[in-house]
Each structure stands twice: as C-alpha cells, then as structure tokens.
Amino acid sequence: MGVRTSAAVAVGRAVRVAARLRGGGSAIPGTVALRIAPRFLEDTIAAIPRGVVAVSGSNGKSTTTNMLAAILREHGLTVFTNPSGGNLPQGIASSVLSQVALNGRLDADIAILEVDEGYGPKLAKLLKPRTVLLLNIQIDQLNRYHEPDRVVRMLEQVAMTATTSLILNRDDNHLVDMDKRIPGSRDVAFFGASAELISGAVHGVASADRFGDAHAAAGTREAAVTVTALGDSSATLSIDGQQIDVRLPARGLHYALDAAGAAATARSVLGADFRAEKVTSALGGLTTVYGRGELLEVDGESIEIIMMKNPASLQLNLDSLETQPEQVFMAIDEGTPDPSWIYDIDLSSLSHVDVITGSKAWQFAVRLGYAGIPVGTVDLDVRAAVKQFLALPRPASGRKTMILNYEQMMGIRKILGFKELEGGGQA
C-alpha cells in the first residue's frame, strides 16, 4: 500500500468523523478517499484472502447480503460488508474506510458486497468478484433504467465477472438460463422454491416478463437450495436433501428466496466446510435490515414498516400481509419520480388508508380512489401527517402499518426518533 492509500484513508476518515458529527452524509468520506486514491477501493478489496462475493438484483439485496454475512460469520469467517443501501462505489468506499487500517488493510477473510444494478458492471470489473449471486429481475425504477431488458444486460455483465461461481434464482424468467447466455465457464448453482409454493403465491415471484427469444421456463433447473415450506416469518429450506428451518425478517416467499440464495451462496463459497444447520442459527440471530419488514416501537405501539421501493417489493409485501391492516399510513415523494406503476399493483389487501403524505400523495389518493379504497386525510406536510397518524386510537392488533418509499422511510425514522447510522446500519 502506498502513501497515496494512507493519505486517502487518513483524509477519508477525518471527513467521516466530520460527516458523522454533522449527522449523516455517509457517501461523502468515500467520495473524498476515491478522489485522493482512485485505486483505493480495488487495492484494499484485492488484498482480502477469500475474495469478494457480489450480490445484485432488483429486490432483496440488502436483506440477502445481511443473511449471507451472518451465515459466513457463523462458520467462523471474518466478513467485510457494506451496510444496507451503501451499494454505489462511494458508499462501498465509505464502508471500507470505517473498517480499514491506516496501511490500507482490511481485517477480513471475505467481502460480501451488495452492488447496485446500475453500477454493477463497472463495480464488478473493479472488485473482481469470485462469486456472484443474482437474486431477481423485476420491474424496478423505470425512470432510471428505462426498461427491464437493460437491467438484464447489466446483470449479465456482472455475472460474467464471476471467476469461480455464479448463483442464480431458477424461478426468475431471466436468470433461469443466464449461465448459458454468457461466455466463459464457472460453477453454477441455483436456488428456488417448490412448484407448489410458486403457484400458490398470489402474484408469483413478480419476475419481469421476458419477450422474444425461446428460453428455458422459470423453475426448470435443478436447485441446490429449495424453499419447501413457508410459515409465519419462517421457512423450511431443503439443502442437499437436508431439511432445515430458518427464521425470516417477515412473512413472505420473497424473504424465503433471499434466505435460499444466501444459503446456496454460502454452500458454494465454503464447499466441504458448509454446515446447513449453521444457516438456522445464523438467521435466527439476525436483526432486520431496516425498512424491510421492520417493526418500530413508538410510545408502546408497534409500527410495521412496508417499503415500496418498486412494484415488485410493494406487491410481494402486500401479498404477505396476513390480514388487512387496521391503520395505514402512506408516504411517497420525489424519490419515486414516476409512480405510474401503482396502477399495476393489486391493492386489495388494504381496506382503507388513514393518512397519505409526501409530494406524490395526491397521485396516490387518485389511485386509491380508482381502486375503491377509502382515504382518510391527505396532508403534504410529513410531520403533521405522522403526528395525526400516531394520534389515532391504539389499534386492536396493537400494530400500525406504514407503507413508505425509501426516502420517506429514512425521513420518518428520524421524525420518530430513530437514529440513522452511517451507510444505513442498524440503529
């Protein structure tokens, strides 16, 4: 490691301290470090003995990265990872800064990095992952990627950079045969759910449609890890014939598939050292990544947070609700620039919405009107809306429900008095 790296670490860390004192600003230190030593990230990462696992896909990246890190830690490895949401180059550099020694060495056996689809091709070339785990391709952020096909091509490029193994979701229309569509050879393993669970899910797995070319049907590949049963915030995974039970962050087949993907990846990374029962103990001790099936305790009431990052995540989270929520709050702002997709969502698991806020509130109120779902109040002032919602009488179930986009989730956590940690770690 050169002087430049040390300088980058020193300055980056100073900026990090300053940014934290100010509150937030998680990507800024990384941006500064990358400016001083442009190769800072790749040099540091390249020195990690067991290399990099890259995790990407439309939904579930943070949850799965969290699960995989826990499983590998349970097997005794020291894991470096980027906390939820910090999946752009600057965010990853910031995470490195928080753990790196001044000489540029990270104390880690392996790095598990969540990578943003958009930056995936660039980051993957930089990070040279040995293993790539791809979760799903769903309709996501069309304002950013314009069409799902572009995401497919970006993730193909990420998959191609895997030097050792590639882990794919066999129940995804585009991933089921991605190994055959890309050049080069590497070990390939699949994960998925039993046909009964897939057909039993109201809206399936929300995989983006695939048009044109003749291709293998989703579900037709042999899986190393299969979800065979689903419970209330739990699932059974079949791993090499062994049935194990795992705890999930919340109800839902999508969370079970995330767990299956994490287990299949751990199995590939660890080889003969992999112990299926350690998946159970690792996931049992996990706290949720916030905003993903998280329960917040506020003044003795629990608030369930449902994130609407994109159509698939909202639909799958709504499908996972056991009953129609008693009290519902929605907040959506320009973090979701084009909410057209709400017309593709089946909202029938909501009987009503009490309060809607955020700059897109009126657009949501129109949508709910057409869906025949009664709306209480619309108030663009987020603080006032939150206050009004909290003031509603205590629900019989003891649980209030908030449906939020990512930006509103961050803001409302703060309003509710939850501290935000750098890069999005657990408060």
Binding site: H146, E147, S340, W341, W362, A365, V366, G369
Partner: protein, 271 residues
C-alpha cells in the same frame, strides 16, 4: 343502451408501467355513470371484435415494441377503418409510435407502422426523463411523466398542446428551453437525427379529430380525467348518446387529480 366496447391492443406486451391503468380508468368512469362496458384485450392471434367504440394502445420497452410489431400488419387495415369512422383512439408511447407510419430504430432499421396516425418516429438524441406538463387549448393543464429517447414528427398536424415543462415531440433550443432541452444541451447532443425547435414552439403529441397520441405517462388518464371523459364523450357521440353527469365518487377523484396536477405543475422535476 348497448355496451360500450373498448378495444385494448396488446395489453401484455404494451402494458408496462401502469399503462393498463388507462383502460381501468375508462371502465371505472363509464361504470360509475351507469354505463356497461366491455373490454376486448387483443393479443396476437385473436380476432378483432365486430363492434368497437374506443381503442387504446399503451407503451412498453423497445423489446416489447419489436415483439409486437410482427402482429401489427394483421390489425392495421381494420384499425385504419375504425379511425376513418371516427372511433376515438388513445395511443401512448411505443403504441402511438407503432400506430404511426414508421419507426426508425437507433440502428437505422425502419419498422412499418399501422398507418393510423400520420406521424413518423425516429429513435435518436438523449433520453428525456421527468415530469411533463402540457397546456391544452381544449382541456387546460395536463400532467404526466415523460420517459423517451425518440422524436415524433407530426408535420403540420395539431398537437395536444404546448409544452410547459419537459421536452415534447422534439427537442428545444435557445434561451428559455427547459429541462428536456437542458439535458440535450448538457449531453452535447448534436447527434444526427436530433430535431430542434424554438423553446416556445415545443409541442406534445397528436390530436386530430378523435385520434389522440402522446408520450404522457402517469398513466395519462390518472391525473387528467378531462381527457378520459373527452374520449368517452366522443365514443358515445358516434352512437348519438351523451355522457351522463359524474356522480360524487368521481367528483372526489377529480378533486384529488386536480390537486395532483397542481402539485406537479408547481414544482416539476426531471433527471
């Protein structure tokens, strides 16, 4: 009174990003007034229904456009006949392009359109992504979301209205040009195929007789109920019928849509 027959073209391939919501909205607004509605979802290989009062085609990615194109030649003659008989059409994005005369792709390939709309599309220039505000002389302010990487040439035909925010059919140049033009300028795009007009001349879509074509997404009818009612009125007028008055449930939706338009028009954003 017979059913109102809506023909929904290629809902599966051209149904991305809430486009099918336009049909749900038309159905909702007709049924709320006591009309019965019949929707024919036309996919390749189906036969077209004998009675059609209103035609909708939505948007989708280029891959879906390519997927749909081979099936277009079968439906093109009957669609042109419907248009000639003043059946109202609403065509959005990729569907609007396919119902035009030609679509020239980025690699120079020319797709023959259905020839319902006398317009041509060229895939070129910078993609524009952002809020979209259009001022229509007939319907007032229309809002939506613009997300396109192509130019539409409507020649001397009438547009839906002037662009207040966003880009419109072609790019603008010069002082006063707003978001779309700024994006083009920032990218240094003097790419071949870039079509420019003076900022004040930016217009959106095509609206001649009962044919409406646009790149307003949102879906377009969501926050612009006046356009939905205009289409329903035109469909009924052909049969000598009128659109009944809106019940209170629709009035409440329309109040919210008006607030949504105000919110977007007051602070439009783009990438």
């Amino acid at each position: 009174m017979t059913d109102l027959n809506i023909l929904h073209l290629f809902p599966r391939t051209l149904g991305m990003n809430g486009e099918n919501g336009n049909v749900d909205i038309l159905v909702h607004r007709a049924e709320a007034r006591g009309l019965s509605v019949n929707v024919k979802r036309y996919e390749d290989g189906d036969s077209l229904p004998a009675a059609v009062d209103l035609v909708f085609i939505g948007s989708g990615p280029v891959s879906a456009q390519l997927q749909t194109h081979p099936y277009l030649s079968v439906v093109a003659p009957p669609l042109r006949a419907l248009a000639a008989h003043d059946v109202p059409f609403l065509a959005v994005g990729a569907g609007f392009q396919l119902l035009g005369e030609t679509v020239t792709l980025a690699d120079g390939t020319v797709l023959a359109g259905a020839g319902v709309y006398p317009v041509t599309t060229t895939v070129a220039g910078e993609r524009v992504v952002g809020d979209f505000v259009v001022s229509s002389p007939v319907l007032g302010t229309l809002v939506g979301f613009e997300n396109r990487g192509s130019y539409v040439d409507i020649r001397d035909a009438a547009p839906i209205g002037h662009v207040v925010y966003g880009r419109g059919n072609v790019a603008a140049t010069g002082p006063g040009a707003s978001a779309g033009a700024a994006a083009v300028a920032a990218s240094g795009a003097t790419a071949e195929g870039t079509v420019r007009v003076a900022p004040d001349d930016r217009v959106e879509g095509y609206w001649v007789g009962n044919l409406v074509g646009t790149h307003l997404h949102g879906p377009v009818l969501a926050n612009n109920p006046a356009l939905a009612d205009w289409l329903l009125t035109a469909a009924l007028a052909r049969r000598g019928e009128t659109l009944p008055a809106a019940p209170p449930s629709l009035a409440e939706i329309d109040r919210r849509a008006s607030k949504a338009r105000d919110t977007i028009a007051a602070a439009p954003l783009s990438e």
